[in-house]
Symmetry: D2
Subunit: 135 residues, 4 copies
């Protein structure tokens, strides 16, 4: 069973048409990634960027937004690391809303692992590489 | 000469690593799209969504972020409508920073034209279709 | 016992100094107000602004931020309606962090009840006036 | 003549009622403070927090929002340092819209000067203290 985290659409997330402003959908993906670090990897991202000085900025993104999200919606975002490179992690996000067969949004984000002090690439550590296996 | 608009990276745009939080890069694209409506199309987006009740939510996105943006950076975003469908507009954004030969980021956003009262597709009006021609 | 709601400080909330960008603290207050409507008043704010066409924009604010919030912090915000006028509601927010005797932040927000279709003042309905009594 | 800076209300700034989400008004104040550092003090805030390691987080705020701001509005924010303490700066912001006699919003923000490496108070430097004199 893949990891899922809940997001509630807030007043600040929606535009004057009453639907979520699309840059916020990527913010939701980042929040879901943070939840994945805490719950699946077992090391909160604040600790990863803080003590560990390791960060994962986005370098490539593909996204499909099929149906809009409205104020008050509660969704679940399914998060997985779909590919692990030497230094990169590819994340897959699927947005699920109750009662809908298909995800309303799918996002793939390639992130580059960098040393936050030197801003240079850093190999994916084992404690990330082994996380989520068998889950 | 393609249309370009200036963006200054603000304190609120950067994260604790000192680089722009990637969802903000899409916000910059939206701001650039708003500037394009005002300057190239000749009808400000507030009027398009207001009086005209026509909106362009994003439905598909591809983005490459090659080099990070830092606090205080001033960039120019080149904006073009690269494809016009029956109801859709495809937008291309290239982020330029002085002294760099290649754009630091490229984003393509497919937007779907919808009637904001009925949330149904709406054909691209001529005053958008003809905008930017010869520019 | 007053109503409290939990907030987790996210990556997007902090600035390059690693502390929460202060406009986000007001966003937290708005999120806490939304939780109060759902949990205490018993009518979610999406329904209040949607079906009911009643909104509460802020008209006056006083805030004391005594100690900064950092990335990864989990806090509880205590929310109460501290005064009810003919059309206005005054909200009090106290930010609590585990292990600290005093709130790290206190915010008071006077909101004006308005009809969202006419943008004119609207009397506080009984279902808000009576909420939270004896709680 | 006091320093003024222009702000254009963007799509992302407004809520589903079509008016600016109030935490964004404080973001506008921060942007105006950044412009003041660059234009009046003569040292951009990116340099102040970067090279100088000096930051001004908000510690006390009072705000009056008299009339709402709508999508597409262009305003001028008048910025002044209204009081200088040993380590603190008090900022005054007045939001002006063309054709209106009175500011639509007034905000006062007390900021505490801190050393960003030690998170301890730091005296107001002369190059801030002397800025804006006679202006």
């Amino acid at each position: 069973m893949a990891f899922r985290t809940k997001i509630r659409v807030r007043f600040a997330d929606v535009d004057l048409a009453g639907i979520v402003y699309y840059p916020r959908l990527f913010h939701f993906c980042h929040v879901a990634m943070e939840d994945y670090f805490r719950e699946v990897v077992g090391r909160p991202y604040p600790e990863v960027v803080g003590a560990e000085r390791l960060g994962y900025p986005a370098v490539h993104i593909e996204a499909d937004f099929r149906r809009p999200l409205s104020y008050g919606d509660e969704i679940e975002i399914e998060v997985a690391i779909s590919a692990v490179g030497a230094t990169s992690l590819t994340w897959s996000f699927a947005f699920h809303r109750d009662g809908e067969a298909e995800p309303l949004a799918r996002v793939e984000v390639v992130t580059a692992g960098i040393d936050l002090d030197r801003f240079a690439g850093r190999p994916v550590p084992d404690w990330i590489r082994s996380a989520g296996r068998g889950s």
